[in-house]
Amino acid sequence: MTALLEVEDLRVAYGKIEAVKGISFSVNAGEVVTLIGTNGAGKTTTLRTLSGLLKPVGGQIKFEGKSLRKIPAHKIVSLGLAHSPEGRHIFPRMTIEENLLLGAFLRKDTAGIAKDVQRAYDLFPILGERRKQAAGTLSGGEQQMLAMGRALMSQPKLLMLDEPSMGLSPIMMQKIMATIAELKAQGTTILLVEQNAQAALALADQGHVMEIGKVVLSGTGQNLLHDESVRKAYLGED
């Protein structure tokens, strides 16, 4: 069986500065894969390249066996790859409902869209209660829920979440992580970028540790969680 997503020797540069220096990993259908590492490791750059916002200078990205390198960002989502960006990036002057509907921008099945909006409200009841409210008025955690709900609206085969716990209170962070676990249990394939390595590895089937543009360590979530060097570097233990 071939992987849903295969990344091979991917290299991305901002001008002359290489931010991602030849990384390889794959994501199988039904798996949760996490990229962890400190700021500037190239995790966000990797996700932005996968969704087409950045163009790689080298390497291959294959989604369901098809190369994504020449496909513009606005077409990649229709292939089944949804990206909930770092910093949430909800549309602040639109209502919650309008934000969700934009997630389904390329879909034509009105009945299916309505059903999925309801599904997002079931997943995050607070969004349903405030559906007519401008999204910019939501708290950070609620905005994160909206960004995730919006990404799910395209019915993705692969959901990419960039730093979903960033800047959230511990309680909100737990809530978001519990939702990711719920999505995993429903069979959603997820590529998760996190600085909260503990929570991400606990959820993940596979994990990759990135450092300044390279993958330095890979393994199952459990193995990495118990790896001595990972514990020291990322889980704050001496």
Binding site: S51, G52, L53, P92, R93, L102
Partner: protein, 309 residues
């Protein structure tokens, strides 16, 4: 004699012409943060497009038959030039320094003016624009000139259609998304390059209708008609809150009414006898802009830039 209702109507008519042009500035700014200084000239080419259609039509054609064709001609000429400018002048500079497209816009503005001056037959002075037959319409104390009837009907229709398009259609929602956050709009599947082209085209089409209204109102079109009118429309867009379509419409009307009122009444104020009349209208328009921007830098309906996520 109470001439206030008449002055209000005059201001409203002038203002709706400003508004038709202002929405083009505001839509393009809202999406690519470019002040398209060539927009006034795109308006002007719309006027010449309409005139050209009139000149091609056989002599003696009824204005009622000609006018719809002239509008179509104006819209085609203006949108073609606007879309061409976007494709060949602005798009190659996107992502570069912000000053580059701005200077390009100023250059394009001059180039369009002098292209018409040099190549359009007899355009070195103003050219007569055909008029709608019939006399002015009297409505109680208000008189509406025949040329203004078109503006009275066309402006609200255009504004309503544009508002519906932006607020209610799928492409319109994609346009709003692109204005608020272009990268994220792409992640939703919005083809932002196409949205930008649509914004330029829509703005040009509205300006073209405005140009036909200008020709009917003033009886002439000329190669520099886009300069001052473009500046006024840009002022209206800033006044209303640049980036906001309703703001541009309201800003246009407010500016038009203020200008008309100032022209009519300032000279009645003791000590200001010299400052009334048509020659001071433009001064009062910009005084209004300065006053509004001092009190509300974001414009009447604008949002503070810091609100952008």
């Amino acid at each position: 004699m109470n001439e206030l209702p008449q002055q209000l109507v005059n201001g409203l008519l002038l203002g709706s012409m400003y508004g038709l042009v202002a929405v083009g500035y505001t839509m393009v700014y809202g999406i690519v943060q470019l002040i398209n200084f060539a927009h006034g000239e795109i308006f002007m080419t719309g006027g010449f497009g309409a005139l050209t259609v009139w000149l091609i039509l056989p002599g003696g054609t009824s204005m009622w038959v000609a006018l719809p064709v002239m509008i179509i001609g104006a819209v085609i000429v203006a949108t073609t030039i606007a879309v061409g400018a976007e494709r060949f002048a602005y798009r190659p500079l996107r992502g570069g320094p912000r000053l580059a497209p701005l200077i390009t816009a100023i250059g394009l503005s001059l180039a369009l003016q002098y292209a018409v001056w040099v190549w359009y037959p007899e355009a070195k002075s103003a050219r007569t624009f055909p008029q709608i037959p019939g006399g002015p319409i009297e409505l109680g104390p208000i008189t509406i000139q025949t040329g203004d009837v078109f503006l009275l009907i066309a402006a609200p229709i255009c504004m309503a259609v544009l508002a519906f398009f932006v607020m209610r259609t799928r492409v319109g929602r994609g346009m709003q998304a692109t204005a608020q956050d272009p990268d994220t709009a792409k992640l939703m599947g919005v083809n932002t390059d196409r949205i930008i082209v649509i914004a330029f085209a829509l703005g040009a089409a509205m300006a073209a209708v405005g140009a036909v209204a200008y020709g009917l109102k003033y009886g002439v079109v000329d190669y520099k008609m886009g300069f001052l009118l473009g500046l006024k429309a840009f002022t209206a867009a800033v006044l209303g809150g640049i980036g906001n379509i309703y703001g541009a419409m309201i800003g246009g009307v407010v500016l038009g009414i203020a200008e008309t009122m100032a022209t009519a009444y300032v000279s009645h104020i003791p000590g200001m006898e010299q400052l009334g009349g048509q020659s001071w209208a433009d001064v009062w328009a910009f005084v209004l802009l300065i006053v509004v921007l001092l009190a509300r830098p974001q414009g009447l309906l604008g949002e503070r830039v810091a609100d952008r996520a």
